[in-house]
């Protein structure tokens, strides 16, 4: 499993362990739990249901205590049927509630796929916006936890490919809280992907401040600040841009830290939001660094990573010093636990890809101008050999 690099964001590093007043150490799971509880307290129309989310508190305890606090009308267990959960949520959203459903594990959501694709994603469009579905589909997703088969899929491409769905994946404790509250407040359906391997990661966050900001937004009817549609710069750098989301952000940050030791400055973008996708933040970074590697756990073929690479090549071509590469899982079913560390894109695979970015050619200097002279491929098409060995 990749190194879990928490506290690597500039602001977190600046704190240097000294938590300001109001800050507390919080797990990713607790942040999600707090977001659910706070939304349920703020809005009586928010209801939570799924398999084992009641007295058990969910298999990952994300819904811990909600039934006890809000009653069985607000947080309840359903029969074991994912399509049923999803379809019932459609009807409940039609009738004025804000359902937040849990799919328990990524691959368990597939029986509900028809409901997601045929109805959740399309209801607004087919009814000319008359029927909105303000619902959140929470999916504990991706691997790195040694789970058996059907417990570790990265299914984001299926959802991202479906128009009408908003798809987000937090990578930090603060984003877990704020992004979930923003997702519940959105009037469109949101697929909320929770990287399982991050559930137990801890960060020091000022939950009180995050809570106050979200509460204030709810009270005044504004959009909850949380990152839907906006990427975050998780680490600044000048030589190349690593684009990641969800479970891959911590791996990318670990790779950037390792690269720094080798004298290479890598910027890390945490997308947070896959749909809508924040071209602006990614483009700005890549035009500045001239090089990019996209990192994701999912199989790379026809993937979100492939889409990001294509977008960067289309939009930033004349600023690029090298082809944009992607570092992903292999195009195989998610492997058994003893093989998953070979499958998951780790620090070494990322650094190897960074080494392939034609470092003997200068990066584009004239970013933002889109100038043709800065981007002629012929001037920098001298592939370097032995770059990987040089690093090792």
């Amino acid at each position: 499993m990749a190194a879990n690099a928490t506290d690597t964001r500039p602001e977190a590093r600046d704190l240097d362990g000294e938590a300001p007043s109001g800050s507390e150490s919080l797990t990713f799971a607790k942040a999600l739990n707090a977001a659910l509880a706070d939304e349920m307290a703020a809005d009586a129309s928010v209801v939570v249901f799924g398999e084992d989310v009641g007295p058990l508190g969910g298999v990952f305890r994300i819904t811990d205590g909600l039934t006890a606090r809000f009653g069985t009308g607000r947080c309840f267990d359903t029969p074991l049927a994912e399509s049923g959960i999803m379809g019932m949520a459609v009807g409940m959203a039609m009738n004025g509630l804000r359902p937040v459903v849990e799919m328990q594990f990524d691959a368990f959501a597939y029986p509900a796929f028809e409901q997601v694709v045929s109805h959740v994603a399309k209801m607004s469009n087919r009814t000319r916006g008359k029927v909105k579905l303000p619902m959140v589909i929470r999916i504990p997703y991706a691997g790195g936890i040694g789970g058996v088969e059907h417990h570790c899929d990265s299914s984001e491409a299926y959802y991202a490919h479906t128009p009408g769905l908003t798809v987000v994946a937090p990578a930090t404790v603060a984003d877990a809280y704020s992004l979930l509250r923003a997702a519940i407040r959105l009037n469109d359906p949101v697929v909320f992907l929770e990287p399982k391997k991050l559930y137990w990661s801890k960060e020091t966050v000022d939950l009180a401040a995050l809570r106050q900001a979200a509460d204030e937004a709810v009270r005044t009817g504004r959009e909850v600040p949380g990152g839907i549609g906006t990427a975050a710069v998780a680490r600044t750098g000048t030589d190349a841009t690593l684009v990641a989301y969800g479970p891959s952000v911590s791996t990318a940050l670990a790779a950037a830290a390792a690269a720094e030791a080798e004298g290479r400055s890598l910027e890390v973008i945490d997308l947070r939001s896959i749909v809508p996708y924040d071209d602006a933040t990614v483009d700005e970074s890549v035009r500045r660094t001239g090089r990019a590697v996209v990192i994701a756990e999912a199989p790379g073929f026809a993937s979100v990573a492939a889409e990001i690479v294509a977008r960067i090549q289309e939009r930033c071509f004349h600023s690029l010093a090298a082809p944009v590469l992607r570092v992903t899982g292999f195009d195989v079913p998610y492997p058994a636990p003893k093989l998953e560390h070979w499958y998951l894109p780790g620090v070494d695979r990322i650094l190897d890809a960074v080494d392939e970015l034609q470092w003997d050619e200068p990066a584009a200097e004239n970013e933002g101008t889109g100038s043709m002279e800065a981007g002629s491929l012929e001037t920098r098409s001298s592939p370097r050999s032995g770059s990987s060995e040089a690093r090792r």
Partner: protein, 433 residues
């Protein structure tokens, strides 16, 4: 009385279950019938004959429904509708489904239930929008409390459960009637919907129109259950079978189920035995899978004729009233023809409307691309001259480009039905009511 409306397999109920809880959930051994094939009243101690006013009103809707089915089929042949799944022969089910509901109740229809939707008050032209080709659904579901017509099978049954569950949680006096066909009972969502409804004890009536065929596949290849109504027992809810071509029996049985749900009795399942007299759609050749003799056998069970025979004999229908109803139906058909003979020219920029409350930057880019293509297509092109990005909703009375649902800044939680309804939208089909 002996009837053989479709599948009437006799069921052996174990003696020991005599008056036990299982027996209480079991449907009748034969479908409930209140007006027989000869148009005479058939007394049933459990189900009273509906009042004469209700039967007269139902007959008016039957006549209109038959005319709508025939007119829509003709419009398909003229190329004015892309397709029309006719409910010819099933009109009694369609009419009864709408008639047993109150204003605050919900109807969840399928693609074949256009007449039921119209009977609920939706303008025929808005109903036919789905089949005409300019938008997927033509009416405001909140205005009529009619969900969009569903094409995937059985998926809407779960939505019905969700609406009912929310209504229960909110303390609303709402019953939901969800329609499906015999084929849909094989789908997983059918099972999940019935199970969820029973477990959560919500006010839903599941209404199966068993018309003997799922496109070409006969019921015997769909299910070997004693009847489809018997499936209810497995979920712990009562099931009932009813003659689907007897509008009186349908009104009484469905009415009892709706009343039971309204009073907190929970969900139930009603199976109507009926027959699709025409092909699945115009794209289907029904002669490949069923005989002319079989189809002919159902002519004598026609729901419109049977209701008429009863009403005439009871002195509840005379020549004058019949002429008036025929004229009303003809006017309805003429309005359909006129409405559909007008070419619709949807605004291509509407493609980008209502995908999200707020378009993504990527959608905005694509909208720009299309706007450029529209600009190049010239005045004689397919695109309208209006290149505005707004969706030009064609319903009268709507604000152009209005997106009343798109109010992310309002802070309104979830949009209650009241908040989502648009009373300014013009009313229902006066011809139909």
């Amino acid at each position: 009385m002996t009837i053989s409306t479709g599948r009437t397999r006799q069921v052996d109920v174990p003696a020991e279950s005599g008056s036990g809880p299982v027996h209480a959930l079991l449907p009748s051994d034969v479908p409930v019938q209140l007006i027989d094939l000869d148009g005479k009243e058939h007394h049933d101690p459990r189900y009273p004959l509906p009042g004469s006013g209700m039967l007269q009103d139902a007959y008016a809707r039957l006549v209109a429904g038959r005319r709508i089915n025939d007119q829509a089929n003709a419009l398909v042949r003229q190329g004015r509708l892309a397709v029309y799944p006719s409910s010819h022969g099933q009109e009694a089910c369609q009419v009864a489904a709408a008639a047993v509901l109150q204003a605050q109740d919900w109807l969840f229809p399928t693609y074949r239930d256009s007449v039921a939707v119209m009977s609920r008050g939706v303008d025929p032209l808005q109903v036919l929008t789905l089949l005409r080709g300019d938008w997927h659904s033509g009416y405001d579901p909140y205005e009529y409390r009619v969900a969009p017509q569903a094409t995937p099978l059985a998926t809407q049954l779960l939505h019905a459960v969700g609406v009912a569950h929310a209504a229960k949680l909110k303390g609303e006096d709402t019953v939901v009637l969800a329609l499906c066909g015999d084929g849909a009972t094989s789908e997983g969502d059918f099972h999940e919907a019935l199970n969820f409804a029973a477990v959560f004890h919500v006010p839903v009536v599941f209404f199966i129109q068993n018309n003997e065929y799922a496109i070409s596949v006969p019921l015997k290849n769909q299910s070997v259950a004693p009847s489809l109504a018997h499936k209810a027992v497995g979920y712990g809810m009562p099931g009932e079978r009813v003659d689907g071509n007897d509008v009186a029996a349908l009104l009484s049985v469905l009415g009892a189920a709706v009343e039971r749900a309204r009073e907190g009795g929970g969900p139930s399942l009603v199976e109507a035995h009926t027959y699709r007299m025409q092909a699945h759609t115009n794209a289907d050749d029904a002669t490949r899978y069923r005989s002319a003799e079989e189809v002919q056998g159902w002519v004598s069970r026609d729901p419109v004729v049977r209701a008429r025979t009863y009403l005439r004999a009871a002195g509840l229908l005379d020549d004058e009233r019949e002429e008036a109803l025929a004229a009303e139906a003809e006017a309805l058909a003429a309005a359909m023809r006129e409405g559909l003979n007008t070419d619709v020219d949807p605004d291509p920029m509407a493609l980008f409307k209502h995908v999200y409350t707020r378009a993504t930057p990527q959608l905005d880019e694509q909208a720009e691309l299309l706007r450029g293509e529209i600009g190049r297509s010239g005045p004689s092109g397919d695109a309208p001259e209006n290149g505005e990005p707004e969706c030009s909703d064609s319903e009268p009375g709507r604000e152009p480009g209005g997106d009343p649902g798109g109010d992310p800044e309002s802070g309104e939680p979830g949009g209650s039905p009241a908040a989502n309804s648009h009373p300014e939208t013009p009313g229902t089909s006066s011809a139909q009511r």
